[in-house]
């Protein structure tokens, strides 16, 4: 199963908290790119992770050539063409930056967007930036629309401050762009809100086709009503996975295991064997990225990407 996302990295502040250093990463078989990345450091406003730190919101870099991206030559060799960086803050202070890097082969249909509003007086989200690959018509349509709270996946994610996962967008006619998405071959959409307490809202959307899903499996975990345990509220993969379903019946206490640690610390986390390259054709799940969705210092949800 080839996935839309090829590389995931977590960059964390160094001891002095003035630069970002490599925390962990999933590179599949892209070992050369991995080696080129592990040695990197990014100052504030430098490179993709540093820019996201300075911008204080997710950013999409749709092409690396002649940009601020620092690893263009290694990325080109690895077939990576675009990236998205998501800064995770606790108040004014950065906890980590999660970077997704994607390939640009002709077989895949997918897009990544960052939506935002212009402040408290702007009641609609618009595309701030996006990567659409070959989906030029879908891009044109998306850039022209505004989505108020509750409308479309970005609007719903904004309204609820929760991640939203829709598996068969073409059939979900309540979404504004479902028809356009269907025409573009998009089947699954994941929206993740990022609100840092100011008046601006940001929502990232990952849109992918059946042939190249976002990840092998996506899960949304949330604290239960009492806020005592995490429970898996939603999950999705291209093929059904009864092994993953067994583990999704678990409840997780704060501090217990990988998800419990994300809840405890607010830090994104990568688990699984990061050194071995994995077989992207197999359905087994052996690596995981968990991203916290935080609103006003409280964990709202954890989104996991499994590979």
């Amino acid at each position: 199963m080839k996935t839309f996302i090829k590389v995931i990295e977590i960059w964390i502040p160094d001891k002095e908290r003035t630069q970002l250093e490599f925390g962990s990463g999933l590179y599949g078989g892209l070992t050369e790119f991995k080696h080129a990345s592990e040695k990197q450091h990014f100052a504030y406003d430098e490179g993709l992770p540093g820019k996201a730190w300075a911008a204080r919101h997710p950013i999409v870099l749709s092409r690396f050539e002649q940009s601020y991206f620092k690893r263009t030559s290694a990325a080109q060799k690895a077939g990576l063409t675009c990236g998205i960086a998501i800064p995770i803050f606790s108040g004014d202070f950065l906890l980590a930056v999660v970077v997704f890097l994607c390939g640009d082969d002709q077989e895949q249909a997918g897009a990544i967007e960052v939506w935002n509003n212009e402040g408290a007086t702007d009641h609609a989200l618009h595309v701030l930036d996006g990567y659409y690959g070959s989906l030029t018509q879908f891009e044109t349509q998306s850039r022209q629309i505004g989505l108020p709270k509750g409308q479309g996946i970005p609007g719903r994610s904004w309204e609820t401050a929760m991640p939203v996962l829709v598996e068969d967008i073409g059939k979900a006619t309540e979404y504004v762009r479902s028809g356009d998405a269907l025409k573009a071959g998009i089947s699954t959409v994941l929206g993740i809100p990022f609100v840092n307490g100011d008046e601006r809202a940001y929502v990232i959307t990952f849109l992918s086709a059946k042939s190249t899903p976002i990840a092998k499996r996506i899960q949304i975990w949330m604290p239960d009503a009492e806020g005592r345990q995490l429970v898996c509220r939603q999950s999705h993969s291209k093929n059904s996975n009864n092994l993953a379903e067994i583990f999704e019946t678990l409840t997780v206490n704060k501090g217990d295991g990988a998800l419990g640690r994300v809840w405890l610390t607010g830090m994104p986390l990568i688990t699984g064997n990061q050194d071995e390259s994995y077989n992207e054709e197999l359905d087994d799940l052996s690596r995981m990225l968990a991203i916290p969705v935080i609103e006003q210092g409280r964990l709202k949800a954890i989104v996991t990407f499994l590979f």
Binding site: I246, T271, D284, S286, M288
Partner: protein, 189 residues
Amino acid sequence: MLNLLIVESGIDNTALENALADDNVETVKVQYAPSFIAQVKDMRPDAIIFNLETPSDELLADLFMLNRQCPLPVIMFATDGSSATIHKAMQAEVSAFEVNGLDADRLHGIIHVALARFKHQQVLKNALQEARTQLEDRKQIDRAKAILINTQNFTENEAYHTLRKLAMDRNITLGQMARNVIAMAELLK
């Protein structure tokens, strides 16, 4: 007809080649070179024959590697009969090591005993590997069952049947499925 690869290393092999021709054996000659393993894999002879003074460490390392990647009977005629050389040759899993023993009359017997010994060793090695895999699988299955018992409150029987169903659904062995369960549990650890 047997197809043998003679690896030359500066010694006159005319007697060896004549004896093999008389025995109706087809031979190919190559010089020992760094590309030795690739050449052997490409040619896939029935056995490899060396006639040399003493095997170099590089050659023995290559034979050791070849044995891991593409095991073949190896017959070595050498003049160096020191116990250190014999020990190294055995570690490289040479099937027959003859010290000053290149005798045309005995060649047929030496080759066929080496082929039979190699075949027997392969059977034993495969059986050992299978036993190791089964033992390792059993350990992994027990570990996966323990995970299912602890996380799902299953009985041992329920854990086993769940594991078996998961494996059947995927058309993989119980051992492979156990590894998947362990990997999944590791993610949440």
